[in-house]
Symmetry: C3
């Protein structure tokens, strides 16, 4: 009862705070009404400088809901009991991310100018928060989750700003900034909040919702297949590069799904994998294509990457998660380490490798779109690859530090 | 058994009637093959005169299914038993609305010329019918529902024609013509058909489907988040105005969702709200942005409006619905008064206020898109506000009269 | 257990085979990076020659998942137990279809050049495989299903190549190449694998999942209403023809839905049809519009076609399926003959009739889009109609031969 009122009060305070901050700082971007763009904002210039580009607005209404794919995925694994809390996290994190991202990217003359792009960026951030939530689901109360969202949005934006804007890393599908950051942030929070006795009760509860969870797993898997490939390419709107990113993502998830059917009969006693395992394979196959999606120039590369990650993810569940639990005292409710963490790291390594192999010959006109700094001549391919690689430990460091602090 | 055959016979008659009327009157619009437009139809002229504009066709296949979001919402509250009837209502109402709307808007030389726009208009009408259905669900047999649809489509189109075409009211997201009209029409039908003894049985049945209803509520809420904001802006295709309408709707529903988490722990004994309550908040947050969505020029306005309506809607369920039932003898199965009626009225009042505050400075180029008559100088802002306000009692009057008549 | 490992091994072999074949032959099409198109590929020329046209890429991510509508439909009828297997079939068949279709359509200098169009074509093929799967679901083990997919993709592509490319048949919504071919292929496999004792057990199992199946049927029906009309017009991207194909499909499925409400109270003891019956009517109403969708020039034609097929499909379930079972020893688990087979044949006959009636007057500019060879004067309307009609027995022949062979 005290918790009930505390949650109610915290929601009230945070919402009032959001409204006041929005009233003080946030305005609609004049970019969206082209006739009025003040010269200081450099409207046309800014779009070309940055990797961020105005997405076709009609697609935003779909792209914005990236997070809900994750939400459905967690419902498939954890059951509908947590749906209400997850939606609260999403509703709060989107507002907060619009504010924080606005300060980093869209701040001018004391005002934050928001537009369709802000919504898409905010939703990438919300997705990272939701991945972290997946690691601690069931062991953290709603009030703690709101505070986690509050802190993680800030750190996630900081990490994204350093990687994408300052270092010029190419990570259009967010292998690093969303999947890896979110997973390790959540795992560290889980480590700090370790409570051994909570585990057993949850497992029993989960058996009850097993039947219903299958429904969510089917719906979630279909949702991911249908919408995720276009999420992955949400920030790669240039016609050609997007094309390949979407196709690579499809090939990767197809191979990853088949891989699940190879391993799970061997690892478990079941003849066919359960729907949640297929869903996990789908997520892993997408996470690995996050950075490499627009860099791969041959379809079989995507097939191999998806196939390998589809083999690694069930192996992780079988052998690595128990080790994580018993040795490192990290509980991972929804297995985010195997679904987002490892595939994200593999995706980043693959991206680094592909950057090293990138030549003007194989990329053609696409070079300028995927690696603008290389195409302009201000960086060599090796420099870019080194920076891409360096982004990985930096993300891991920020995620673990942030997670410990939050915990 | 008699009812079974009567339903079967009525469906047969109505479908044959529809086919005959379509055969006699409905042709594909030459507008959709631009080379053939006869001069009498004034193809290019008409598009600029009216608030209706040819939507991008590729989006229509999504926009047309507005009604299904509502359908899923009602399944979340009432259970899947009524799904078949609701789909029948949708299937019949769409055909009938194409006919009736065609007579008002697309009639020429004894023929109705339909196109993608007809489908979108027809679906708005179907949505109003579905809202009314929500008020009487479980207490009216399918035959009565078909007759209700038959009458309401006609009256709803009349109301829409008077408001949008004759009075020049700006109501792009249909706060008035869909949400308010549909809700009060349904409530009046419910009043006339009041049967006190039917209530208890329903409540028990609903307990049975509680578990399954949660699945529908989760799926329905996600559907609304993903697709509704683009529905709200279906008729505001001008690039900039649409932009803000979608963003305003997102901000409104986010704030409304958080508001549910503030009130429901206080009003009920539960620590977190049930999914149907979150779904109701989502619907209310969208209904309030119907008229005001494209008028709001600051994001915090949408946050405040969504926040307030998110507080009012659960209060309505807790305190107003029992009063409605005991004093006014109106049973409201799915609570459409709190979800659509009140938010619609508040949205209309907010729209009036915003119209009063509209100046060429804040709106810029958008003035012509949102208030074409004001921009052309044929009306002052005060006149427009007065007309917007006047549309509210007119809609209420038509809805209550029509509902009583139908009942 | 032996089956488990055999499935695992077969998946492994097939996936490695796919990866090797992709590595050897498949490259991204230079068409998608226009600057690089080698002159031998005739990039611009080819697009105009063929009926295949580059779809707007932003829509492909939705169009690709055609198969999943079918998947949800079968879950509604059969239950979620088979979901995992169906997804495996989809994941394998898409890769295989990209290869096989690539050999027929996109082969040049020893390489297959894939792009967004390959994905859409591959998914049409996968849909045919899934329809066949629906006929044998529950009586065939996963290993057999994979082999079925392997063979059917090849034969389906051959059939499609003969019909669309060599004979110049107009079948944009694939009444023949997907619905009819898939249904009769599956029925023949089912005939050859006839095992009388397997039937009873299945029926009992299905009763258990009845409740859950309703959820899938509701979600599946909504999915079909929302996305299928745009699938049907996936390959008719010319602005005007698409327009009518989508509207015709909507009118057809609306009428077909109402027809279900007329017949099912008469045929069965229930007052309203079950959700799976409505879903079947939706599928049948779409299958009949496959070929005729872009040919119909009046909306009432679509209403009549949908109405008739909506009456025939439940009659088929009531009277024809038992005959099929007892006399012809064909078991049809999901009733694909009534949902896809018959409506597909009727659609082809309707298409032939409409081709006969096609004149330059009624079609105007659309003639060139729908019947390019007629518009160019190299064929008369009667020739075209004869060829359209001839495609029907050819498809049936290939489907039955292929099915027997596979069985």
């Amino acid at each position: 009862s005290a918790l009930r009122l505390r949650l109610s009060g915290l929601c009230f305070l945070l919402q009032i705070l959001n409204i006041l901050l929005f009233a003080a700082f946030v305005r609609y971007s004049p970019e969206s009404s082209p006739g009025q763009c003040p010269p200081q904002l450099n409207c046309s210039q800014r779009n070309q400088d940055s990797r961020f580009q105005q997405p076709r607005f009609q697609d935003v209404h779909i792209q914005v809901l990236l997070s809900f794919g994750l939400l459905l995925a967690f419902l498939g694994r954890y059951g509908p009991g947590s749906a209400a809390i997850c939606i609260l996290i999403v509703a709060f994190a989107i507002q907060w991310a619009v504010l924080i991202q606005g300060i980093f990217y869209f701040f001018l003359n004391g005002k934050i100018y928001v537009g369709a792009q802000s919504m898409v960026s905010a939703d990438f951030c919300t997705a990272a928060v939701l991945i972290s939530t997946g690691a601690v689901l069931g062991r953290v109360n709603p009030v703690q989750m709101l505070l986690l969202a509050l802190l993680e949005v800030t750190l996630c934006t900081l990490n994204e700003y350093i990687l994408l804007r300052l270092m010029g890393v190419s990570d259009s599908g967010r292998s690093l900034t969303v999947h890896t950051f979110g997973a390790y942030f959540g795992l560290m929070v889980s480590r700090v909040l370790y409570q051994p006795h909570k585990d057993k009760r949850k497992r029993e509860e989960r058996q009850d919702v097993r039947h219903q969870a299958d429904v969510f797993a089917v719906v979630g898997t279909l949702y991911l297949w249908i919408f995720w490939p276009s999420f992955t390419s949400a920030t790669t709107v240039h016609k050609n590069a997007e094309n390949w990113a979407v196709l690579n993502t499809y090939f990767s998830l197809v191979a990853s799904t088949v891989a699940t059917f190879i391993l799970s009969p061997v690892l478990y006693e079941e003849s066919t994998p359960r729907m949640v395992q297929i869903q996990d394979a789908t997520l892993a196959g997408m996470a690995v294509m996050g950075m490499a999606g627009e860099m791969l120039v041959t379809p079989f590369g995507a097939l191999i990457a998806g196939f390998l990650v589809g083999l690694i993810s069930p192996l992780g569940f079988r052998f690595f998660t128990p080790v994580l639990h018993s040795r490192l005292k990290i509980q991972d409710t929804c297995g985010v380490h195997n679904i987002h963490g490892l595939p994200g790291i593999l995706g980043a390594l693959l991206g680094t490798l592909l950057t090293l192999l990138a030549t003007a010959d194989t990329y053609g006109d696409r070079l300028e779109l995927v690696f603008p700094l290389v195409a302009q001549g201000s960086r060599t391919v090796t420099d870019q690859a080194f920076i891409q690689l360096g982004a990985l430990p930096l993300t891991l460091l920020l995620a673990t530090l942030g997670g410990s602090l939050t915990g």
